[in-house]
Symmetry: C2
Subunit: 569 residues, 2 copies
């Protein structure tokens, strides 16, 4: 047995409270090395005649990568306390893994055992329930629809008359969105993620000038309130984008510092290395990246904290928004985010808190900070496999499997799974215009665990390269929309929202079949399975059904073709 490859450590994806009564325990062993893993456990205080009382369960091998097998078990400790160890066996030997290393037999001393001392409901990761059943739609407000030309910024170009550039404007606004809400209802989405809407100077509005004001090009607070209300009336949740890592250059406190320098009462709102602050040759203050127009906010300064928390609370309390997406969230301190969560949830307990973190996000997902992160590792794997075909089935399945077992299950269920955003090239462009690949991307995304998000226009086949290319005007001319793609996605969304197996209520796993360019995975519950066969190759493939373990079950086959679902018994 390769003991050095065995890993377990409590209070993360390896041991966590799934809910107030249930612990999930996972262990990782070298692939195909260990034959059986048992979890030996007990309440630390249950003793009889000087002997600790334990029980055991056999753990299930849930998935594998080319390096590891992942074993999982679930326990409901009656008194919420658990000490435990693992009994791992292969053909040759059986060993016990404890917190203090390996033993041949179960140690007598309870101090050896791993410990999950107590499940406290208040500590359990607890994202809002509604998120699990939400399909998001991301809107970049300047480019979705122009509904009120009176608000157009100067030099606004006619809708769709030019390629998007870093500086041009097309006059998108809230009225435009209101005019098209029924389009979104028809598509079937039930959550909108808006990129920033607060007062700013750019077209993307990530350079906030005033966090408490709506950008006048979009409308005012009256129409924003109406927009939220109209969304809610249609069962659509609303998520706004908060840029708390840095402010815009024209944010009044930063302007005050530029003007009064060390005498400014805002001098500690940023991270000045010394005074006077300058931006040539390089800024002598912390910035986002090295962009001098995006001064980093000093989120440990109590005044800054109070201001930003006021903002966080204001839009929830006054406008009843349902979620906050947090820009560059990984570069802001954990202390701030803990307070942010407390403040926001105190106003509305089921607000969704979504952090922009592109890498391993476990430290932000322990229940005290975010409900989810933007799942870019999911994006990368899906794009690399389906759109670019730069990785094969094996690598794709491994990436997705690693990702799933990197986090607790309750985190995966609300993970924000996107295929693209205002920060990436559009999928159709990445896929070189191959619509078949786009369909598979959507099929995979919309049948996967998590909460999927569609970037505006992708559903009708819009193209566009990296920023600014991906920020083109929404195409409203039916003639220019890919309505087949639209109906295909609408179909998938409907399935996701009506069939619990399609959505979040089932176990996901790749099946052990490795066809060239074809992936097969299943979603399963106790007595029903959905099997997905996605042929990402250019050839016609035959899949032997005997490998899919149908047995004598009743089978219904769906074939997606030209945007329709054909059903046959």
């Amino acid at each position: 047995m390769l003991k050095e490859a065995i890993f377990h450590r409590p209070k993360n994806n390896f041991a966590y409270a799934y809910n107030k009564d249930t612990l999930h325990i996972m262990i990782q062993t070298k692939k195909d090395d260990v034959k059986k893993v048992e979890l030996i456990y007990g309440d630390p205080y249950e003793w009889e005649n000087g002997k600790w009382l334990t029980e055991s369960i056999v753990m299930e091998k849930k998935a594998s990568t080319s390096s590891y097998d992942f074993w999982k078990g679930s326990v409901k400790p009656p008194f919420h306390r658990l000490r435990y160890a693992f009994r791992c066996s292969d053909k040759k030997e059986t060993v016990i893994l404890t917190e203090l290393g390996f033993y041949q037999e179960l140690p007598q001393d309870i101090a050896n055992y791993f410990c999950f001392p107590y499940i406290h409901e208040i500590d359990v990761f607890n994202a809002p329930d509604w998120v699990k059943n939400t399909v998001w739609y991301q809107i970049f407000p300047e480019r979705f629809a122009n509904g009120d030309s009176a608000l157009n910024p100067v030099n606004t170009l006619p809708w769709g008359s030019a390629e998007p550039s870093p500086g041009n404007f097309f006059g998108g606004d809230f009225q435009g969105i209101l005019n098209n809400l029924d389009y979104l209802v028809d598509l079937g989405i039930n959550g909108i993620y808006f990129t920033p809407i607060f007062k700013a100077s750019s077209n993307h509005k990530y350079d906030t000038i005033d966090y408490l004001e709506i950008d006048p090009q979009f409308g005012d607070k009256v129409i924003f309130r109406k927009l939220v209300r109209e969304c809610h009336r249609r069962g659509i949740r609303v998520m706004l984008d908060a840029v708390f890592n840095h402010s815009g250059y024209h944010f009044a406190p930063f302007q005050d510092v530029l003007e009064k320098q060390e005498k400014s009462k805002y001098k500690d709102w940023f991270h000045a290395w010394n005074f006077p602050i300058v931006h040539k040759p390089k800024p002598n203050y912390d910035t986002f990246g090295f962009v001098h127009t995006m001064p980093k906010l000093n989120t440990k300064n109590p005044e800054v904290k109070a201001y930003l928390l006021k903002v966080a609370k204001y839009w929830v309390e006054e406008f009843d928004i349902d979620g906050w997406r947090l820009d560059v969230a990984n570069e802001v301190d954990h202390t701030f985010w803990r307070e942010f969560r407390k403040v926001v949830k105190s106003v509305k307990s089921d607000v969704y808190i979504l952090g922009e973190v592109w890498h391993d996000s476990m430290p932000w997902l322990k229940g005290d900070q975010f409900d989810a992160v933007m799942n870019y590792p999911f994006t990368k794997a899906a794009i690399d496999f389906f759109a670019k075909q730069s990785i094969g089935t094996q690598k794709f399945a491994e990436s997705i499997t690693s990702l799933l077992y990197m986090y607790p299950e309750n985190i995966n269920e609300v993970s924000f799974n996107l295929l693209g955003s205002h920060d990436t090239a559009r999928i159709l462009t990445t896929a070189n215009g191959d619509k078949r690949k786009i369909r598979m991307l959507f099929l995979f995304q919309l049948s996967f665990i998590g909460t999927p998000c569609i970037y505006y226009g992708d559903e009708i086949g819009m193209t566009g390269d990296n920023d600014p290319g991906c920020r083109g005007c929404m195409v409203w001319d039916r003639e220019k929309q890919d309505t087949e793609l639209y109906f295909f996605i609408k179909q998938l969304i409907a399935l996701r929202r009506t069939d619990e197996l399609f959505g979040n209520q089932a176990d996901f796993r790749f099946l052990d079949i490795n066809e060239k360019g074809c992936i097969i995975y299943e979603k399963r519950l106790v007595n029903r399975r959905l099997i997905f066969i996605l042929n990402n190759s250019d050839s016609i493939l035959r899949i032997p059904t005997n490998k899919l373990n149908f047995n004598n079950s009743r089978i219904i086959e769906w074939i997606f073709s030209k945007g329709e679902k054909l059903q046959k018994e």
Copy 2:
């Protein structure tokens, strides 16, 4: 190369901010497998001509167990941001470990790299500076000294006239401690950890009746204030013991619930499963262990929280105490401890927060909860090796090494390293009266990284089995004290407090010498080393000095014998 044994994951002992400017990065590989590890890193935003700018350092192999090698590197990212990967080489191959797995070459896409997005001073683990230089002394107040017989509880026995039992009293009090402070000054300790002093009915006072009152057998608030002041005058810090997991049976709110049951306004202060609450045949409410007289407090109830936080603040604010030791801390929710930390540190920023956690404590030591835990895994290893001789040198060195690399360095520096407490048998009893073993235990403890604690009376050779045996009356009769042991320990404390290498300012490692029953370790700084040779066997051993790499350095040899330090050039 055994890739499956290689492990790294950020934001714990594998990657942490040592201080506001410095990151420590660690990786674990199979023992003697990898020959060289380099850390490749850069600021995520530093690019030139489309290429990410990176640097590299060679990581140092710091220590090994029989399973793993631990490699460490230290980086000061100029803009506080870091993306990184590892280049691991053995004789045959070189591979790159990234967050997304292994590669043959450095990936182009920065999304592959591990990320420590930003070092925020406010998130850095930050225990009080003074703790690193503190030697603690644990006092069980009922048994240290009786200075005021007027306060004696009824049925108080004459001092030392009987073996300690679960129910007997000997009348120890604050006046007794005050009378003997100079004894502690002479010994050289500079911190006292008091087991509970609040109003309670037992002799151990872990069954709190009133968290805001001093137990009358010890004195009143006037004399307690004087005690703290007198300690401070002598440079001694004071730490109290808070039992927040559960209350005592006679705690007024619990009595109110017993009396009024569901009508009590305190009904949600505990965890009643249903009403009426009863304790036969078994309690129908959560308890500590299964002890019905210790009802578990509902620390998520805002009223309970407010009450306990008031208590936490009160003793710091009003009496200027320096530390809180938290009983059964692992069974109280993390949310509560985060608030506890904030409240206590807001009153006095350098209060030491010490949790009672006997197992892997990483989840409590991320900077947002405790400064340290009671290091019982250290205790266990030291006792098993020195006192019981139930493990050999190899296993001992491994246990200590695993423990050191299980936590960040800044955590190890303030870890509360005890050899025994009111909850364990006294070391001399465990060692079957062999004083030579006790000396080695103290030498090891007092020369190790961390903040050592001496259990009252151990320094003069007191004996006693597990609770209640270990809670005997302090022996004040000089004739009955082991003064040689006392002087030996005094000597060690003096060395620890005057020689930075002896204390926390040096790197600890076992030397690669494996003699039967003898351990050799060193503490080193740039140009000075202390080498410790502890012969735990019954034989005289010869240690070849050529193995100790003295080279041509100047050597001063200390030999500890009969409590004295002999020095020779």
